[in-house]
């Protein structure tokens, strides 16, 4: 079974040279720490920067330089700043090759819910709806089950949707799965996790074909 760092590490293997990538808050943010050797990617933050670098050294924080999670950041050489409408032009216009975000629920048709729990959590969708509606390649990074142990990979989302039929791949603490027309297709198992454990933790349609390899790090 993977921890959050492990999920980030596995998703980092999906990065391709030359990609522009938008990372959401939470597990996705950790991916920047595991960029494979020889892979050159540029991180976009939707509040208006391409070329986002690591957190600043203590004492060098700049209130005028933050990411979409409102964290202080740095700008790498070659970075560029722009306004919010230009930022979402990049996203909507599919100039950003990969979006990675967290989710509360994903359905086996690719629907995603991650912004609202009616009556409990109403913080807003931020840029998530624009990101999932437009990106060609959307990977969800999340735990396979919620705190109560219930599956987050469902036949149908019960929470208000963020986007429909948009998720392409899911990396959880248990598995890597592709979203296909027939449902979740099991691609890899996390180290030490059996196909049966993944089946038990998946409520939506799960396709298991042949031997499922373990993730390699």
């Amino acid at each position: 079974m993977l921890d959050k760092q492990g999920i980030a590490k596995r998703i980092a293997q999906e990065l391709q040279n030359g990609w522009y990538v938008n990372l959401g808050i939470g597990i996705p943010t950790l991916i920047a720490n595991y960029i494979p050797e020889g892979i050159d990617v540029v991180f976009q933050s939707e509040n208006g920067i391409l070329g986002m670098g690591p957190f600043p050294f203590e004492g060098e924080e700049d209130a005028d330089l933050i990411n979409a999670g409102k964290q202080t950041i740095t700008a790498l050489p070659g970075a560029v700043i722009f306004d919010s409408s230009n930022s979402f032009a990049m996203i909507r216009g599919q100039h950003v090759q990969l979006t990675v975000l967290g989710a509360m629920e994903v359905a086996d048709n690719g629907d995603i819910a991650n912004w609202k729990i009616p009556g409990k959590m109403v913080k807003g969708m931020g840029g998530a709806m624009d990101l999932v509606a437009s990106a060609d390649n959307i990977i969800v990074a999340m735990m396979h089950t919620n705190r109560k142990g219930h599956s987050k990979l469902l036949k149908q989302c019960s929470l208000p949707l963020t986007g429909v039929r948009c998720v392409k791949k899911i990396v959880t603490n248990l598995a890597v799965l592709d979203v296909t027309d027939q449902g979740f297709k099991l691609i890899e198992r996390a180290p030490g996790v059996s196909v049966e454990e993944i089946q038990a933790a998946t409520e939506g349609r799960l396709i298991v074909e042949g031997d499922i390899p373990e993730m390699q790090f």
Binding site: S45, E46, N47, G48, I49, P54, F55, P56, F57, E58, G59, E60, E61, D62, A63, D64, L65, I66, N67, A68, G69, K70, Q71, T72, I73, A75, I81, F82, D83, S84, S85, S87, F88, I91, R92, D111, V122, K123, G124, M125, G126, G127, A128, M129, D130, A133, S134, P160, L161, T162, G163, V164
Partner: protein
């Protein structure tokens, strides 16, 4: 051409209770601190505020919320503010949540004379309720209307008396699009320079979009999430 006004109190003249205001900024980054303070002092009420976020409990738009001067918020993300959540859940505060890219584009469109546009963002979600759906290139899109406001308040780094503005870092965010969408756009700047000192090639917001400008004072520039790495 001289759009300079003396201070924030002068700059907000004409704002009345019940009005719709746009306010630039992302989180607490690039917010018009001086104008928000002046609005709090003025006591105007029942405001509709279009702003990506709603500040924190004791800073930014949170200051107007504390005094119950806001009737309605139009935003994309309003976490990090307990008083906001309390007012929203109790029904005191009306909230219209819209996708961030749609919010930015609605402001830009408002300023650019485009009354509405189609976007894929929000299709199939509660954001799409009551909105026209149309397919382009076999993909569903929803119709979003432009936003304008009688007043827009923006914060820039440098400006001149023509209203030309340059922003610094990610404090740019929503400020340029809201500057475009305000009937009266008020810009507060950290540094006021003489016309000609700003390189025309690097001005972000042309002065044509700005009606009033003043040099702000006592900027706090509070950091919401201070994140650092250790020095090696």
């Amino acid at each position: 051409m001289n759009k300079i006004v003396a201070n924030a109190e002068e700059a907000i003249k004409g704002v009345e209770s019940g009005m719709t205001l746009m306010l630039g900024g992302f989180g607490l980054c690039g917010i018009p601190e001086n104008c928000i303070s002046a609005l709090v002092k003025s006591g105007v009420k029942d405001l509709t505020c279009i702003s990506n976020n709603a500040g924190v409990d004791d800073f930014g738009l949170g200051l107007l919320l504390q005094k119950k001067q806001i009737k309605k918020m139009i935003s994309s993300y309003v976490g990090e503010n307990d008083e906001f959540e309390r007012q929203m859940l109790s029904g005191e505060l009306e909230v219209d949540l819209i996708p961030q890219g749609s919010l930015a584009e609605r402001c830009r469109a408002g300023g650019a004379g485009i009354p509405a546009f189609f976007t894929p963002a929000g299709y199939g979600t509660e954001v799409a309720h009551g909105k026209e759906v149309r397919f382009f290139n076999d993909k569903p899109h929803i119709l979003e209307a432009a936003l304008t406001a009688p007043f827009a308040f923006v914060k820039a780094w440098k400006g001149d008396r023509f209203g030309n503005l340059i922003f610094k870092g990610t404090a740019r965010n929503f400020n340029p699009v809201m500057a475009m969408a305000g009937k009266i756009t008020v810009a507060e700047v950290e540094i006021m320079v003489e016309p000609g000192e700003l390189d025309p090639n690097t001005i972000h917001t042309p002065g044509v979009f700005v009606q009033r400008i003043f040099k702000g004072t006592n900027y706090e520039k509070r950091i919401e999430q201070r994140t650092v790495r250790p020095k090696i």
